[in-house]
């Protein structure tokens, strides 16, 4: 094989790797009511992850992904940054102290400074995301080597991922729960390697983010 042919082959494999994606199955369930038909106006929304379980915690980057998805879909919606909000409200939204039920909102508002801060932020909706993405299976093997003539890998690997998230929407003004949206996604990723490894990644968490983000956007935005 000539050098040019080999370079073309490697370049082709790299391009293919960037285009190819694994398949993802997604299931979305929605139950919402009291939809703000005129949108949320100049009020704000905060999206936060649940992190009180001992064996998992909702990923910060997943929450950020949903926030970005909503902002991209309707830039009139003010979505507060999760970490900034948690710091601003310390110590009331730490894993130990975060309200678990809408009944706990009253206890929070009993603290005058907390009530004032909520008013200042014009917080209308609080959305809790509970869940995580896990690796379900993995198999295969791959060997890589480096020699005087170059480097390369040979083998095949595959792994599965599954995401299971539920969004709970709280209306802060009425202190009630106004909706639940869940998204379950799963997919299998592959990595064949003949000289160059070609990752064929199933965007499991990304699909869950898009699915939840779309439904939340539909609920919050007057444009949709």
């Amino acid at each position: 094989m000539s050098k040019i042919t080999r370079r073309c082959l490697i370049a082709g494999l790299v391009v293919a790797a960037s285009i190819l994606q694994g398949c993802v199955n997604a299931t979305v369930d929605e139950m919402t009511f009291l939809e703000p038909t005129e949108g949320i106006g100049d009020a704000s929304v905060v999206i936060m992850g649940r992190r009180h379980a001992p064996d998992y915690e909702t990923e910060f980057d997943f929450i950020e992904c949903i926030g970005d998805h909503i902002r991209r879909g309707d830039n009139s919606i003010s979505v507060l940054h999760e970490l900034e909000f948690i710091n601003m409200m310390y110590p009331w939204f730490e894993p130990r102290t975060a309200p678990l039920r809408t009944d706990d909102i009253d206890k929070l508002l009993a603290q005058q400074r907390v009530a004032d801060r909520f008013e200042e932020l014009k917080l209308e909706y609080m959305i809790w995301i509970d869940g995580s993405t896990v690796e379900t299976n993995s198999s295969g093997s791959m060997t890589c080597g480096v020699g005087p003539g170059g480097a390369g890998c040979f083998g095949f690997g595959t792994w599965g991922n599954a995401s299971d998230y539920e969004a709970t929407i709280w209306d802060f003004t009425d202190e009630i729960e106004v909706g639940r949206i869940s998204a379950n996604t799963s997919g299998q990723s592959y990595m064949p390697a003949v000289v160059v490894p070609i990752p064929i990644i199933a965007p499991v968490q990304g699909t869950a983010c898009d699915s939840l983000g779309d439904q939340l956007l539909k609920y919050l935005s007057a444009k949709m």
């Binding site: 990923e59 601003m88 310390y90 110590p91 009331w92 730490e94 894993p95 102290t97 005058q112 400074r113």
Partner: protein, 247 residues
Amino acid sequence: MVARLLDLITSGLDGYHRVLSALTVSLILTACGAREVVVQGNFPKPLMDPLPLTVGVIYTDEFAQHEIFDEAAGRAESDWLVKTGDAQVEFWNTLLSGMFEGVVQIKDSQSLAAHQNSVDAVIIPAVADLQYTIPLHTNIKIYEIWMKYRFKMVALEDVHSNEDGDLSINPDQYFADWTLTAYGKTPTAFLQSDEEAVNLAAVVALRDAGANFATSFTRVPDIATWMTEGVQPLSSEATENKGASDE
């Protein structure tokens, strides 16, 4: 000794190879050495209505320079040194200044004399225990830190200054003595080193300690009694029992 070893290994080689060999040896030595974490973080001031009290706080040297050294159990592991002292002082200063109307640090006889009539009580925090786990220990992709604090409170007039300027307190004169636990965890993340993850877990644990302290302070029975009825010193027997039950 390391320098001599390097000289011995690299003598007779040209400059390029000498540097390369030195780097390799340093890498090997680094891999075998202790892993050190000096806990650092940004701690927010608590958002709460401050209690109408002015408290003094004594950070003992043990607390202000708190660290835990964990010796490696086997060849595959490293020694770990986790220094939390500076972060503890920074964190508790921030937390207490948001919880109370006034906070003063009592460091020595001079500051003790300076605040004689302006302090309602003195808090003395201590780290009673600290444990950590990394994925190597548990095979779970989570870094964890667990801490146990012991807090004592005493009236300012019961804090005495020794001839050498150090502060001392008679154990019979504490009017509150309680413990609280804190937990912090952080999952493994791409491009995150063990040290960064342990630091993050420690910061989460400190924040948890603060949340626990801030939300439970007025519910501690001895504190509740003090706030309603004034100082009622604990008996030394009760203090000893408290210490024993913590072990």
